[in-house]
């Protein structure tokens, strides 16, 4: 492990919102080419952690490095360049409400093109249409406005937009929540393909243990403000973290079956 390139590196992160401590001494590392899943209780600060990693919120202490650069200590221009190297899918979609589905997905591509590079219009158009279908939408949805979409469709558009530039690093906040099981499986296979084909690094937050068990190379358990565990499923199976009540509760029940199976074998 030690020889691998670190894409995300968080050290001693501390977060406090309105006097409540959300994170304390959070350390985590994501390596190039792996899928890292962050799991934890609802309201445990997963979204906040992701927002701090990508620089949308300043942590109250500690450092966040992506590709070896401290996200919160960058010049405006450097930060701008760095931001183009990752994609983000927000939990609620965060689509631009005034833009059609097509324009939402085309947005990051068109932004890239503003640098004056050669990227023909029809290539952008075909790429967008392809990404829409890759995320499980049909061609007819392209001209719809976000306000007319169902919750699951919003999720897929958000995924298509996060995938639009095929950045080397992808942050996903609960990609599977709100999807029907079949679409969720489709999404898993799309992510798996992308990840294998492009050696993509993925940091995802997920409640869906099946999907985590199917995709994740390593997992992080964030509960009680701290990282209770970081490692592979097999390591978790042997770890004493599993003795803790919070962790036990996470993997209890039928929905944790696939995850428990991976811990054993």
């Amino acid at each position: 492990m030690s020889g691998r390139e670190e894409v995300v590196r968080v050290r001693d992160l501390r977060t406090q919102i309105d006097g409540n401590v959300i994170h304390e001494q959070v350390d985590l590392t994501a390596y190039r080419g792996e899928v890292l899943a962050i799991i934890g209780t609802s309201g445990g600060g997963k979204t906040t952690l992701l927002r701090e990693i990508i620089g949308l919120r300043e942590p109250n202490g500690g450092t966040v490095e992506i590709f070896g650069q401290d996200v919160h200590r960058l010049e405006w221009r450097e930060e701008h360049e760095l931001r183009k190297r990752w994609g983000m899918m927000f939990q609620q979609g965060a689509l631009f409400s005034a833009l059609s589905v097509f324009d939402n997905v085309a947005f990051p591509l068109r932004e890239l093109r503003k640098r004056g590079e050669h990227l023909p219009d029809d290539l952008v158009r075909q790429l967008v249409m392809f990404k829409l279908q890759l995320s499980g939408l049909s061609a007819d949805d392209a001209n719809k406005l976000p306000a007319t979409l169902s919750g699951g469709m919003i999720k897929r558009v958000a995924l298509a937009r996060a995938l639009a530039v095929e950045a080397e690093l992808l942050f996903l906040d609960e990609p599977a929540s709100g999807l029907d099981p079949e679409t969720a499986r489709d999404l898993d296979s799309v992510l798996k393909d992308l990840h294998e084909e492009l050696n993509l690094s993925v940091v995802m937050v997920s409640h869906d243990l099946d999907s985590v068990a199917a995709l994740a190379d390593r997992i992080i358990i964030l509960a009680e403000k701290r990282i209770l565990f970081e490692g592979t499923f097999a390591e978790l199976g042997r770890s004493e973290a599993l003795e803790q009540d919070v962790v036990k509760r996470l993997f209890k029940g039928p929905r944790g079956a696939a995850a428990r199976a991976r811990m054993k074998g």
Binding site: A98, E117, L119, Q126, F130, A142, N143, A167, D193, L198
Partner: protein, 373 residues
């Protein structure tokens, strides 16, 4: 690390062998390594070409799409060494890559006339909607009179606070400034004829009858009306209006009625407040510049400004409050749930609100020209 994408074409006895080398990824293409992309775009495929992918580093869908385009949507005869990359090339075969057509817009005169018609119809619909909104307000108010427990007290008091209390400073400031300036200018004219004390009637009438209500209405449209439209419109985006309906609460009664009522009730008070500060401004300037002291003002004011003007101004204020209330609430409730539609409706709310104030102002000026002058 990443290698620039490259094409290596070897002609061998009439047959071409096209070797694909490097990383064919969007990031690479955008880094300025797009010579190969142009080369591929201008390449004419021949059926007997051999495509050799064994030297390919990595391929993303943008890269794969470039090949797919070059092949005009069909797999060429021979592909070698594609291995796992095959998946990407496959994926395009059943994808629909053309964007469905947008609903067309008519151009030229044939588009102008229907466009004009739609515009006029739009005005009519909006005017009708604003009227309906006023009617709904009366219905809701009547409901509350019959069943006082329905009355949304918290919303109403909060609205009065926002409409009235929070606007006090702005209204006083504007009143004072206009009072200063107007007295300065009118006073200069009047002083030429030695009629210094006529300033009391002029300024007093101007404020109680016209300027007080007008200044308060301007502040109400620009400050509170636009905020009301934006606030109600945002409730559409966050689906709060739907949530109210789902719980069996009437959005017009809970959201619209208290706001309209608050504006109607607060405006007369704001008018009195604005009148006061405007006249204070007038007293100050006239005592400094014209030698008309505040004692003279107190003595002569009742005689020069009949009490009808005061009631007329206060009544106008209530009228303006009601009009601006129904306009801003209407455009908020009608706002489409996206940022652009909301912005457009806020603009409309302000423009229509102002226009209505001007129209009513002139109409009342004519209608009441026989009273109080």
């Amino acid at each position: 690390m990443a290698a620039a994408p490259r094409l290596d074409i070897n002609e061998d006895g009439g047959q071409r062998r096209i070797s694909v080398l490097g990383d064919w990824r969007l990031i690479e293409l955008l880094r300025g390594h797009n010579d190969a992309m142009r080369e591929l775009e201008s390449l004419r495929v021949r059926p007997d070409d051999i495509w050799d992918f064994s030297g390919l580093g990595s391929l993303d869908s943008a890269g794969a799409l470039l090949f797919w385009r070059c092949w005009r949507g069909q797999r060429p005869g021979t592909i070698e060494g594609a291995g796992e990359h095959e998946r990407w090339l496959e994926r395009f075969s059943d994808a629909h890559l053309e964007r469905p057509a947008l609903p067309g817009r008519m151009a030229g005169l044939s588009g102008f006339l229907p466009g004009l018609g739609a515009l006029l119809a739009g005005f009519a619909i909006q005017g009708y909607g604003v009227l309906l909104c006023g009617g709904q307000f009366l219905v809701d108010l009547w409901h509350c009179v019959q069943n006082p427990r329905l009355f949304p007290r918290r919303e109403f008091t909060a609205s009065v606070y926002r409409v009235g209390t929070q606007a006090l400073f702005l209204n006083a400031f504007l009143g004072l400034i206009v009072g200063f300036v107007l007295t300065w200018q009118v006073g200069g004219q009047i002083a030429q004829f030695g009629l210094n004390q006529a300033v009391i009637g002029a300024i007093g009438l101007a404020f109680t009858r016209e300027l007080g209500p007008f200044i308060a209405a301007l502040v109400l449209v620009g400050r509170t009306g636009s905020a009301t439209t934006a606030g109600i419109g945002a409730m559409h985006i966050t689906e709060e209006i739907d949530a109210l309906r789902a719980f069996g609460v009437s959005p017009t009664l809970r959201v619209a009625m208290p706001r309209i009522l608050a504006m109607t009730v607060a405006m007369p008070l704001l008018v009195v407040w604005t009148d006061f500060w405007g006249i204070v401004g007038g007293i100050y300037i006239s005592s400094v510049k014209l030698g008309v002291t505040w004692q003279m003002w107190l003595n002569q004011f009742p005689g020069s400004v009949p009490i009808e003007n005061y009631f007329l101004g206060v009544g106008k204020g209530a009228m303006f409050g009601f009009i601006i209330g129904i306009t801003s609430v209407y455009y908020g409730l009608r706002a489409p749930p996206d940022t652009q539609g909301l912005t457009q409706n806020i603009t409309r709310s302000v423009v229509v609100g102002l226009a209505m104030v001007l129209v009513v102002e002139s109409a009342m000026g004519i209608a009441f020209s026989g009273i109080g002058l």
